[in-house]
């Protein structure tokens, strides 16, 4: 009885000092081009990230809310309209009913057409069931809002993508068909390690390390989640500058009205009270003792 108790206590004290394996590790904090009030997306990273999404992620993950015309929109990856058209044309989109009203050909195959700018990125699977069947029961989430839909945002997604290189700690059981990733809740993730060195070849000469690939695709997904970020940051500066100026003018008016001398031009108030009381109205804020 006694040794068992001692052992149990020892085990508890060890558990208290060791890492809690039921909880994920905090994401690795990275610096991002879109951080801070002046942040904007690194165009090169957006284009490389699009390449990573297209060549790697899109095999399993949809990006339903992004359309091909977005690729040429201001604040986005900066493709020209012609380039976006070519990228759209590479996509196979389920066609609208033809002049006979059919969407299937004589052999029963779904009629497809090439994409146009107005099309959204086509999903890799026709429905959730197909996606689960192809992924061992797991559903690869749509990535349109993934950066905003996860605590930790871009740092979290980056950590997941680069977090497969760690061995599970001693005694941690990785479930069948899953992978160890210390940043994922529960640490068992269904997604196999998606990135490898030189998995893609970047045309701008950026070395295709796992870290560079992850950084690029996270930047691209951050843009997909928040395509208006650059406009937001720019308009914010304009609006706030105006308001600071307005606040300054109002402050001067406020000072003049509350502390100005009655003979000041534009300061004719029909203040009640005697003449001596008229001059100092009293500043309630400098007076307030709380």
């Amino acid at each position: 009885m006694k040794p068992a108790l001692v052992l149990a206590l020892a085990a508890m004290s060890v558990a208290a000092s060791a890492e809690d394996l039921t909880q994920p590790q905090a994401p690795q904090v990275q610096s991002w081009s879109f951080d801070g009030p002046l942040g904007h997306y690194d165009r090169g990273a957006l284009q490389r990230g699009f390449q990573v999404y297209k060549e790697v992620c899109s095999a399993c993950h949809s990006l339903n809310m992004v359309a091909y015309h977005d690729l040429a929109a201001p604040g986005g990856p900066g493709f020209s309209e012609a380039q976006a058209k070519v990228l759209a044309a590479e996509a196979h989109i389920p066609a609208e009913p033809n002049d006979k009203g059919d969407v299937f050909d004589e052999r029963g195959n779904r009629i497809m057409r090439s994409g146009i700018l107005a099309d959204h990125f086509p999903p890799p699977f026709v429905n959730e069931q197909a996606a689960r069947a192809a992924n061992g029961g797991a559903l690869p989430p749509d990535l349109s809002l993934i950066i905003k839909a996860r605590q930790g945002g871009p740092d979290y997604v980056y950590s997941i993508l680069t977090g497969f290189n760690q061995h599970p700690p001693h005694g941690f059981a990785v479930q069948e068909g899953k992978y160890y990733n210390p940043f994922f809740p529960g640490r068992n993730i269904s997604m196999p390690p998606p990135l490898k060195p030189n998995l893609v070849s970047f045309s701008d000469g950026t070395p295709a390390t796992v870290s560079n690939e992850a950084k690029a695709v996270v930047t691209f997904l951050a843009w997909a989640s928040e395509p208006q970020l650059e406009a937001r940051h720019r308009i914010g500066m304009q609006v706030l500058s105006f308001l600071v100026l307005l606040a300054g003018l109002l402050f001067l008016s406020y000072r003049k009205i509350w502390h100005g001398k009655p003979e000041d031009p534009g300061l004719v108030h029909d203040l009640p009270g005697t003449g001596t009381e008229k001059a100092p109205v009293g500043d309630p804020d400098s007076l307030s003792g709380g």
Binding site: L243, L250, G289
Partner: protein
């Protein structure tokens, strides 16, 4: 507002004034309205709240033009259409979503200011009670609004809150469940629920606007309270609302808007929950269902009580307690400036509300590890809840009768001019 000082300057003005004296009403209410000359910074939040109500209604009407209240389409109509396709839809949505937080921030400052300076005491009881009604309506409106984007937190928040009514089952079996189903319009939160919540979310702000009208009316009959908490004794104690308080409210309003828009433009999701960017899924429950920050203290109270029914009663009681404050406070002195003991209990109460909010934001089984001992936060919530009710129902009536208050100044003007000489 005992008598009107408006004199129409033109013939047309006179003609109009005899038929519909609306210009007179505006002039008496917002131009010549005699206002205590010693109102401090904490009195600008009434004007800020009026602005926030207007901002929320205007942005809300525009959002409703693009929003689709259907379980299938709602999430897409917000995240795809409004956030990506509508011109500046993202801006209007972020202004509206952050506006809700700012509205509550301002209303809490406004309420605590009223508590501190005893603004609920005679003759302003109705003014205070109307304010409590506005707050309750705001809470309902914010709850309905949070459901509309139909994200995970929308759906599960709606489920948790509406399910509170099922606690009535513990008194009358099946009645609570029947009420819950009636509220849902279905056997689960779904399309019918979303549609009625949208309808109510559109309706209630106009009800709020109406009660705000009554609130301002009830303010202008006795006139403003002030930091000294003493009555206005004559014209020497007041200044006309215009230009003294229009410029002051205007200045602080712009500062508040700068603070507000800094979130809109640079941290638009600061107050939000990432889970609400995931479309509602009745089959997947989020690990932690948390309400928006402004409801966290009440959420902590709810979770502090093991019995669901009593928890719900405590939650409702905490809100309804505010209605009785004018009669719970027995003190003859309004302002805490002259109530040394009440002042300390007030700040303790403010800290208590923040503490409850903190506990509400943590998981239900969270604990503090203090020197090897686990202190479950649920106990913190229990003590916090006890103090919340104790403050209003025990301390307020009791302290009011026994407390030795500081001497009150003779008049506002005397206090202002005496201080001005230092």
């Amino acid at each position: 507002m005992a008598h009107s000082s408006y004199v129409p300057k033109t013939k047309l003005g006179r003609w109009f004034d005899q038929r519909l004296p609306i210009v007179r009403l505006v002039s008496d209410s917002f131009v010549t309205y005699p206002t205590p000359r010693n109102l401090n910074f904490w009195y600008v939040f009434g004007a800020i709240l009026t602005l926030m109500l207007v901002v929320q209604i205007v942005t809300g009407i525009v959002l409703a033009m693009h929003y689709v209240p259907s379980a299938d389409a709602a999430f897409g109509s917000v995240e795809q259409r409004i956030m990506r396709e509508v011109n500046y839809g993202w801006l209007i949505r972020y202004i509206h979503a952050n506006g809700a937080s700012m509205f509550f921030l301002a209303v809490y400052v406004h309420m605590f200011r009223g508590l501190y300076y005893g603004s609920y005491k005679a003759p302003r009881e109705i003014l205070w009670i109307l304010g409590v009604f506005i707050y309750l309506l705001m809470t309902a409106t914010a709850f309905f609004g949070y459901v509309l984007p139909w994200g995970q937190m929308s759906f599960w928040g709606a489920t948790v809150i509406t399910s509170l009514f099922s606690a009535i089952d513990q008194i009358i079996p099946n009645l609570g469940t029947a009420i819950t189903h009636w509220l849902w319009g279905d056997f689960a939160v779904g399309d019918a629920t979303l549609n009625r919540f949208f309808s109510l979310h559109y309706l209630l702000p106009f009800v709020i606007a109406g009660v705000v009208g009554l609130h301002i009316w009830a303010l202008h009959v006795p006139g403003n309270n002030n930091p000294l908490g003493i009555d206005v004794k004559g014209p020497q104690d007041t200044v006309p609302f215009y230009p003294f308080y229009t410029v002051k409210d205007g200045f602080f309003m712009v500062l508040f808007v700068i603070f507000y828009l800094a979130f809109v433009f640079y941290a638009p999701n600061f107050f939000g929950n990432p889970d609400n960017y995931i479309q509602a899924n009745p089959l997947v429950t989020p690990t932690d269902i948390v309400p928006e920050w402004y409801l966290l203290p009440f959420y902590a109270m709810l979770r502090a009580i093991p019995s669901k029914l009593i928890g719900v009663l405590v939650l409702v009681g905490a809100l309804l307690t505010l209605l009785f404050v004018p009669w719970l406070d027995t003190s003859k002195v309004r302002s805490c400036r002259f109530r040394p003991l009440m002042k300390q209990l007030f700040w303790l109460f403010a800290a208590d509300c923040i503490l409850l909010g903190y506990v509400g934001s943590q998981t239900a089984d969270a604990a503090w590890h203090l020197g090897g001992i686990d202190f479950p936060l649920v106990w913190l919530a229990r003590f916090g809840t006890l103090y919340y009710f104790g403050f209003f129902w025990v301390l307020m009536p009791w302290i009011g009768k026994r407390e030795v208050t500081r001497p009150l100044p003779e008049s506002i003007a005397q206090a202002v001019l005496a201080k001005g000489k230092h």
